[in-house]
């Protein structure tokens, strides 16, 4: 088995499409990282004046609109301070806020790229017909499937984990350089977030592999996934499926180690004469917890189903 896994790792390394995807898995998060570092750069006076020149000018021209007297002393300085305070929307870098924003973006990028990696890796075997050649050397199909899945899983997890951890450590380092305070445990939380994101991206890669071994075509797998996502979106939209069952919310539950979702509460909850505190978990509580386990089951069960169907099909169908 180890020998087969090594062969599949070599096959992965020789595939140019796979190498390209791995490069993208590094470059795109690096671009997101650079963008976040740039967008959260420290605000200085020149920056403020350059960005908010018109607002300062407007303040000087029409001070009454800003609650200032025209003959107020140091009107220029007062206007600039006001603009700095009120008009600059640039937030300082924070690990906690990135976990709810760009962190999810990095996970989404890794999921998409590694799904493609899983599907294109085995899709190539089917498209070229070389799968039958492989079976002429190792007829135990279960082993072939497992070796390919192990190779894809290993490479995906290592790449996703390295990229994720580098992303969070990079943000932490930038915060240090900017003398920004880091909350206790924030770095550890972010690294754990990165590992969970890497695990989710690895699962996506294995899902891509399993579906392609089932459909025996990269195009068919991507096509089916596209149809399912469009049909699923319509289904959710038309039937008004609750937030609990929406895919992005469950991704959040996995990578954030649990999240909250909104539920519709009875109209009577809003018609009380005197507002009363809402008891957690009661019928009037409009937020519920979505745990890591629930999110994992949401994606894990279909993944297991696809994996089982894929293995059974590969073992039984003619090649």
């Amino acid at each position: 088995m180890t020998r087969l896994v090594r062969v599949e790792l070599l096959r992965l390394r020789l595939r140019r499409a796979v190498l390209l995807l791995l490069v993208l898995a590094v470059v795109i998060p690096a671009v997101i990282f650079a963008a976040r570092v740039w967008d959260t750069r420290t605000v200085d006076d020149a920056d403020v004046l350059a960005d908010n020149y018109y607002a300062v000018d407007d303040c000087l021209q029409h001070p009454r609109r800003y609650g200032l007297e025209r003959d107020a002393p140091d009107l220029q300085v007062v206007c600039e301070e006001m603009v700095v305070r009120d008009y600059s929307l640039r937030q300082p870098l924070s690990l906690a806020s990135e976990r709810g924003g760009s962190g999810l973006g990095v996970v989404a990028v890794l999921v998409a790229i590694l799904f493609l990696l899983g599907t294109t890796f085995v899709g190539h075997d089917w498209n070229s017909g070389s799968m039958s050649n492989q079976l002429l050397f190792e007829p135990r199909r279960g082993r072939i499937w497992a070796a390919k899945a192990t190779a894809v899983g290993l490479v995906s997890f290592v790449v996703a984990a390295v990229v994720s951890l580098a992303y969070w450590l990079g943000l932490y380092a930038v915060m240090g350089l900017r003398d920004l305070a880091v909350a206790d445990g924030a770095l550890l939380d972010s690294l754990a977030y990165g590992v969970r994101g890497a695990a989710f991206a690895t699962a996506a890669a294995l899902g891509g592999l399993a579906l392609t071994m089932l459909f025996r075509s990269t195009v068919a797998t991507i096509g089916v996934l596209f149809v399912v996502s469009v049909a699923g979106g319509l289904f959710i939209g038309v039937l008004g499926v609750g937030e609990r069952w929406q895919p992005p919310k469950n991704v959040s539950a996995i990578v954030k180690n649990g999240t909250e979702y909104w539920v519709t509460v009875p109209q009577s909850c809003y018609q009380r004469r005197q507002p009363q505190p809402v008891e957690e978990g009661s019928s009037c509580d409009d937020t519920r917890d979505l745990t890591l386990l629930q999110g994992s089951l949401y994606y894990g069960l279909p993944l297991l189903g696809a994996g089982a169907a894929s293995v059974l099909s590969f073992r039984r169908r003619d090649v």
Binding site: R3, L4, V7, S130, S132, L136, P139, V319
Partner: protein, 322 residues
């Protein structure tokens, strides 16, 4: 049946099938590709596997190699039941099934390395196999840049990686130039003489007659004939008979229970018999004097065409509505 020290069955047959059947089902219904095929390939030599297009040759080979599942029947390679014991015997079997299939963007050498390493064959064997098929110098080129002949050679190189005791070749000379065809035929002949059993599936009957020591002919998924090439050709002794009135002679010979048809080249009649005196006796008895009675040296092509034509007249492919 003999058994070895470990109780395993020992047989002189390298390939055996019994009652082998393969059905394909589709929306159009069920198609039977192989029906009750009994195949026996003895150890050593080159065994031809003949049949018209769609007769079930490739399907049979694919079932033997575990690429397709048999609907019914039993198969054995080296006396071991397959597909159950295929992992035990696959190391002794090299095969090229249909067209060569490799990763197009990998070099020939990379493709062979991946296959070799999957069963622990040392890398040094790759170079030897490449040299054997004459691909040295081109093995670092991508597979997609190869000509069809080079692709065939690479496929044969892949079969040689295992140093097989059974080589299954499905149309191995397809797309090769005349020199390449001769090389491959020589290679096959040499392998057969060295003790390797070669199952050669081919449409080129002259090739089979030149290279093979024995052959099996199938049609519509059934066994039509099997034996050594000499045995097969011996079954079809025919004579060319020239007479002034072919129609009258045909009637007389048919009445005398002699099988006869008009020669395809228009040169008289072809009569199937082991007793040429019966021809002269029947015709002379009817007052027809023949001007030529020539024994025809039978060739595999004639025998094959007669067999498969008769098979097509007698039966048609079974096709059931679902």
């Amino acid at each position: 049946m003999r058994t070895d020290d470990e109780g395993q069955r020992v047989t002189d047959l390298v390939i055996e099938t019994s009652g082998l059947r393969k059905e394909f089902t589709s929306r159009k219904g069920r198609r039977v590709a192989v029906q009750g095929l009994d195949l026996a390939v003895p150890a050593g030599g080159v065994h031809g596997f003949l049949g018209p297009n769609g007769s079930g040759k490739t399907t049979t080979i694919r079932m033997l190699l575990g690429l397709a599942r048999a609907t019914r029947g039993e198969m054995r390679l080296f006396g071991q039941p397959v597909p159950r014991s295929l992992p035990d015997v696959i190391g002794k079997v090299g095969a090229v099934v249909e067209s060569p299939k490799f990763a197009p963007n990998f070099t020939g050498r990379q493709n062979l390395l991946l296959l070799a390493r999957s069963i622990g064959i040392p890398d040094s064997r790759v170079a030897a196999a490449v040299e054997t098929v004459g691909l040295t110098g081109r093995d670092q080129d991508r597979f997609k840049s190869y000509s069809l002949g080079m692709k065939q050679r690479l496929a044969i190189a892949a079969t040689l990686l295992k140093e097989p005791r059974l080589l299954i070749l499905d149309e191995p000379t397809n797309g090769l130039d005349p020199a390449g065809i001769r090389e491959i035929r020589d290679t096959i002949r040499t392998l057969g003489e060295s003790g390797v059993t070669v199952l050669l599936s081919s449409h080129i009957l002259a090739e089979v007659q030149q290279v093979c020591t024995s052959a099996t002919i199938i049609g519509n998924g059934r066994l039509l004939a099997s034996g050594t090439v000499e045995q097969l050709l011996g079954e079809g002794t025919s004579y060319r008979v020239a007479v002034p009135d072919a129609a009258a002679a045909t009637a007389v010979l048919t009445a005398a229970d002699l099988s006869c048809v008009a020669a395809p080249d228009g040169g008289g009649l072809l009569v199937e018999t082991d007793d040429p005196a019966a021809v002269t006796r029947a015709l002379a008895g009817a007052g027809i004097w023949l001007t030529e009675l020539t024994p025809l040296r039978p060739d595999l092509e004639t025998f094959f065409l007669q067999l498969t034509a008769a098979d097509n007249l007698g039966t048609s492919t079974e096709r059931d509505a679902r």
